[in-house]
């Protein structure tokens, strides 16, 4: 597919050029991590939407709709409202706090130790999700070029690490905007062409009813226990998502932060429809005979020849890479801010910190690449990474905003217990556990947080002050 090759190479050159341009402008960590807190509404919204639309949302979710049809809409019932509610409840508060990372918030409200635990959980979350994104990118590349999956993963990882290391969040925000525009145009082309192929909206549903009526049901593939686990994982992890927090900190003002979050929520409804239509259409076209994660790339490869197909593929690669780059910035920033500055060298210069963040961006990218070889599917890596993070940190972060009685001892222990129980549950019961690891994880986090808080000394007034005025 020559058109794709040319388009993709051109696109990569553009990305690296943007990385270079912003690397020259970068003066310190504030520029790298929160783009100097100067992101306007279009840039904040685009970087949020593009980060949101990663491999999970496009390739992974379409893959699940391919297998299960409308039952998967339950995931969107949790995701979309959670995004808009963040806009209603937290966006302004976060922008007012004007921090760098999620651990900053925990350090401010509790102590350095809790910040340290959260840095580990966040790095695990980000690196796990980046691993999923690398797999998503490799699925597209191997479909197009017929390459070995492992080679495709290597290439995707190297490209993302390269331009993120150069340009930080400025480069990420600008490439997100470009990538998001490419995706929108690509999908505008993909949806009508796909529907035409399956006989339109009604034709799609008639075929589904004939092939597998369960695709049209809303509980057939989603038992209530699963729906409950999805709601908890999605609400809890989104409410404290480090990539969302970082963009709220980076917005140029409070109104920008809130509106960007609301628009991203509305974008999620469109994205949901796109994944649903493309996933179910792929089921009809391939008669359920291919792997879910490959459904979207193969659908595009089959339906859109030449330049159109190339454009849509580049668009999908673009969103996958934009999620990966954003999370790499979060992972490296968290490490330097909260581990290195907190425990190793508090007096580090801005210049040295920036160098270190770049080194950590490379290291995080390489760990993610290693994990991508280890995990079996995109959704598996992303949902599990989210579960560990949410079980550990949801309760301490929410308490920072809403419960004054929460103490630093409770935050530290509940974060450790929540994360640890989730991991241990998964190791003991495996991926097919009848009770999702998030449920025991978050339960132990709530109980330990409340009990220890009530048994320990009320937090000092100075710790509560920054949160009272927001």
């Amino acid at each position: 597919m020559n058109a794709f090759t040319y388009m993709f190479v051109g696109y990569l050159v553009l990305l690296i050029a943007i990385g270079f341009y912003f690397s020259k402008k970068m003066k310190g960590m504030g520029d790298f991590l929160v783009a100097g807190r100067k992101l306007n509404l279009p840039l904040t919204t685009a970087t949020l939407m593009a980060t949101w639309t990663g491999a999970a949302a496009i390739t992974g979710y379409a893959g699940w709709c391919y297998y299960c049809g409308y039952s998967m809409l339950w995931i969107a019932f949790a995701t979309t409202p959670s995004l808009i509610i963040i806009g209603i409840l937290f966006a302004k508060k976060l922008r007012k706090l004007a921090l760098y990372t999620v651990p900053d918030l925990l350090k401010l409200r509790y102590d350095k130790k809790t910040g340290g635990v959260s840095a580990v959980l966040i790095a695990a979350y980000c690196i796990g999700v980046v691993a999923g994104e690398i797999m998503g990118g490799a699925a597209v590349m191997s479909t197009i070029f017929g390459w070995e999956f492992a080679h495709a993963m290597l290439l995707v990882a190297v490209i993302v690490i390269a331009y993120t290391t150069l340009g930080g969040l400025w480069a990420v925000a600008w490439t997100d905007l470009i990538q998001f525009l490419i995706l929108s145009i690509g999908l505008v082309i993909a949806i009508p062409l796909t529907l035409k192929e399956v006989g339109g909206w009604s034709g799609l549903h008639i075929s589904l009813a004939e092939m597998d009526p369960a695709h049209l049901g809303i509980f057939e593939y989603a038992p209530y226990k699963m729906i409950l686990a999805w709601f908890i994982i999605i609400f809890a992890s989104n409410f404290i998502a480090p990539d969302i927090y970082q963009r709220m900190y980076a917005a140029k003002d409070e109104r920008t932060a809130r509106l960007a979050m609301g628009i991203t929520g509305m974008w999620d409804t469109i994205l949901t429809m796109i994944a649903l239509v493309l996933g179910m259409a792929a089921f009809v076209i391939f008669a359920g005979e291919i792997e879910g994660d490959m459904a979207l790339p193969m659908l595009i490869d089959k339906l859109f020849p030449g330049i159109f197909g190339a454009f849509v593929m580049v668009a999908i690669m673009a969103v996958i890479m934009s999620t990966a780059d954003s999370l790499l910035v979060v992972a490296s920033g968290t490490f330097v801010e909260d581990f290195y500055k907190g425990f190793i060298n508090p007096k580090v210069t801005e210049e040295y910190a920036l160098k270190l963040i770049r080194v950590m961006t490379i290291v995080s990218g390489l760990i993610a690449l290693a994990l991508a070889f280890y995990f079996e599917s995109i959704m598996d890596s992303i949902l599990f990474a989210s579960s560990i993070y949410a079980a550990g940190l949801f309760i301490p972060v929410m308490s920072a905003f809403y419960w004054k009685r929460g103490t630093k001892e409770a935050a530290f222990i509940s974060a450790l217990l929540g994360g640890a129980v989730t991991i241990i549950w998964r190791i003991i019961y495996g991926a097919e556990a009848s009770i999702d690891p998030i449920l025991p994880g978050i339960a132990i986090s709530i109980v330990s947080f409340v009990v220890i808080s009530l048994l320990t000394k009320m937090p000092e007034e100075e710790k509560l002050k920054p949160f009272e005025s927001i």
Partner: protein, 37 residues
Amino acid sequence: METYEMFLLAYFLIALTLFVILLLKEYKLHPSEEGST
């Protein structure tokens, strides 16, 4: 109306309602605020 159609409709209505609440909260409750930092 089929079940899946009602399901889709409910999804869009929830999203739209929340978005309107967000806009009302931003513009109606703080009309004069120009989004200071």
